[in-house]
């Protein structure tokens, strides 16, 4: 028999339960079916139509290629010859992403067991195996580089620490990868985060890594991206069915996850693209990348589902001008709290590029960097370091002020129960309000500091609490050499 003759029968394999009630085997809080009737799920379909035999053959070939390139790159000590900006981007990526892949194994495993359609459960098994492969590839790549750079230990360690950026990543991804129903996770993770954001990011990062000479990292990213493109497809039929039966829930999920994904991209992707990538290798700015790939894609998805643009669209477009510049300044200024050395990326030539891409950059950001540069050149190093914590958002966990710029900074607060909550933006405040019980009990780092959980209550105590050790503690990646040209 050829595949088309047996495939639908095999993937639709299901049976009528007799020992337990359907609702006991597939509880609603796990499936997330909600208002969707059982009769809707036979419409759930995905286009890849993979069989297990084909899947294993293709994955074996992919792994053989990825590991061969990685081994050759390791033997040639290729990483040592890379620009330090690219090295920093690789360290950031591995620390922030390797364990996310491992968390995604759990999400796909949840689909494989509890998804309300046998077709979905079938392809989720491949998704689960994909994510195991991705975690292992990232860990293996990082393990190879441990002798050259202890920062790669953070590929495993980061998610077992309280480092602030990692807590921000976890706040969103613990929620959707580990703590949400199948329907919610598929819409939030597969459709919005994977297909909408990271799929494109991996394509762009793979190209940038290849240009920078990091053949191994590029190859791994490309190999992972081919899997993501397949298993991210779980999001489309799920969102389409949800939109048909519960339009508001679909719209809210997409709107909330789009903003939460954006905030992580402000933190992780924007600085890497616009500040860490060597100037000569930059092809697109973060804003251009987002506008061309992410915005276009998301609008098409919404149109296909018959849904509207997020209500905060104007704020989103404005945040593309500022959010990642704010995250760049925050990460560089609070650099001892990072597990890698960040690039400042504001030499004169880099500033010219930034102004060309973001005409308002000097007024929003350049004037702040000017004071930092004055202190660097005057030897006032103490003034280039923080002496306290920034205010933090009670939703995205990122510093207040990092969604926009200094001209748009204002408080967004909600009183819920006995306490006051602060938000970086109106969308974060709105997401909190969608399900306040889900978020109200979470303490951000400022809350924990004030509750006495961080001792001693100073910078040293905070760094120790975050798991930052001397061998990885962040410092300027170019040892401030870029600032010297301003002294002339």
């Amino acid at each position: 028999m050829n595949r088309d003759e047996w495939y639908d029968l095999a993937r639709d394999l299901d049976w009528t339960l007799s020992y337990v009630d359907e609702k006991q085997a597939f509880p609603d809080e796990w499936t997330g079916a909600g208002n969707i009737p059982p009769s809707a799920w036979p419409d759930w379909d995905e286009p890849f139509r993979a069989s297990y035999r084909e899947y294993v053959r293709v994955q074996r070939e992919k792994d053989a290629g990825a590991y061969a390139v990685k081994e050759a790159f390791k033997r040639a000590r290729g990483f040592d010859r890379l620009d330090v900006g690219h090295q920093a981007a690789a360290m950031l990526h591995m620390g922030a992403v390797a364990m996310v892949e491992q968390m995604a194994v759990h999400m796909e495993g949840r689909f494989a067991r509890f998804a309300p359609s046998p077709r979905w459960r079938n392809i989720a098994v491949y998704g689960m195996l994909d994510e195991i492969r991705h975690a292992q590839l990232n860990l293996s790549f990082s393990h190879d580089l441990l002798k050259q750079a202890p920062q790669f230990d953070w590929a495993v360690k980061a998610f077992h620490t309280n480092e602030w950026g990692i807590l921000a990543v976890r706040h969103f991804l613990d929620d959707t990868l580990l703590g949400s129903s199948c329907v919610d996770s598929a819409v939030v993770t597969n459709l919005t985060l994977e297909h909408g954001f990271t799929n494109m990011q991996f394509v762009a990062f793979a190209a940038a890594a290849m240009d920078a000479g990091d053949v191994s990292f590029s190859n791994i990213l490309s190999s992972i991206q081919t899997d993501e493109a397949r298993h991210a497809q779980q999001g489309f039929p799920t969102a389409a069915i949800l939109a048909r039966f519960d339009r508001k829930r679909a719209q809210d999920l997409l709107d909330a996850s789009f903003w939460r994904s954006l905030r992580l991209f402000h933190l992780l992707t924007g600085p890497a693209m616009d500040y860490y990538t060597p100037l000569a290798l930059r092809k697109h700015s973060f804003k251009e990348f987002m506008t061309e790939w992410i915005v276009h894609h998301h609008l098409r998805v919404l149109e296909d589902m018959g849904l509207m643009k997020p209500w905060y669209w104007d704020q989103f477009m404005l945040s593309l001008e500022h959010g990642h510049h704010a995250a760049q300044m925050a990460t560089w200024f609070w650099r001892p709290t990072l597990w890698f050395n960040p690039c400042a990326g504001v030499s004169r030539a880099e500033r010219e590029w930034l102004v060309e891409k973001y005409p308002g950059w000097e007024d929003s950001w350049g004037v702040l960097w000017d004071e930092i540069i004055r202190n660097l050149n005057a030897g006032n190093m103490g003034k280039t370091y923080p002496e306290t914590l920034p205010g933090l958002c009670n939703l995205c966990q990122l510093p207040l002020g990092t969604a926009l710029d200094r001209h748009h900074l204002r408080p967004y607060t909600t009183t819920y129960g006995p306490r006051l909550y602060h938000f970086c933006s109106e969308p974060c405040q709105w997401i909190f309000g969608l399900d306040p019980e889900r978020y109200a009990g979470h303490m951000n780092i400022v809350d924990r500091f004030l509750a006495g959980q961080i001792q001693p209550m100073n910078l040293e105590g905070t760094l120790a609490w975050m798991g930052i050790t001397q061998d990885v503690m962040g410092n300027d990646s170019f040892q401030y050499r870029w600032a010297k040209e301003y002294a002339r």
Binding site: F333, G391, T402, L409, V446
Partner: protein, 90 residues
């Protein structure tokens, strides 16, 4: 009578890009609050001004210098981490 109590606030120096966690005391007057907020921004990311003086704003209104944080907290029932703005007095 109880002495001064620690009272954490978020302080934003107008012109900077983030507010900061500031450990204030209920006995602090507004100039003292202003100094505690400004130290994290002025001379770090914003240039200092020769002989410049500050003023403190709550909900967009300037608070008189002689008022203490404790009085404000009691009068307006302010919760911890209330947001204060500090700016140059023109």
């Amino acid at each position: 009578m109880a002495g001064p109590q620690l009272f954490p606030i978020y302080g934003r120096f107008v012109g900077d890009f983030v507010p900061h966690l500031v450990s204030a005391l209920t006995s602090d007057t507004m100039p003292e609050i202003a100094e505690k907020v400004a130290v994290h921004s002025v001379g770090r990311r914003l240039p200092a001004r020769w002989a410049g003086r500050y003023e403190v704003l709550l909900d967009g209104k300037v608070i008189p210098d002689q008022v203490t944080l404790g009085e404000l907290v009691a009068e307006r029932r302010l919760p911890p981490l209330s947001w204060f703005d500090v700016r140059w007095r023109e």
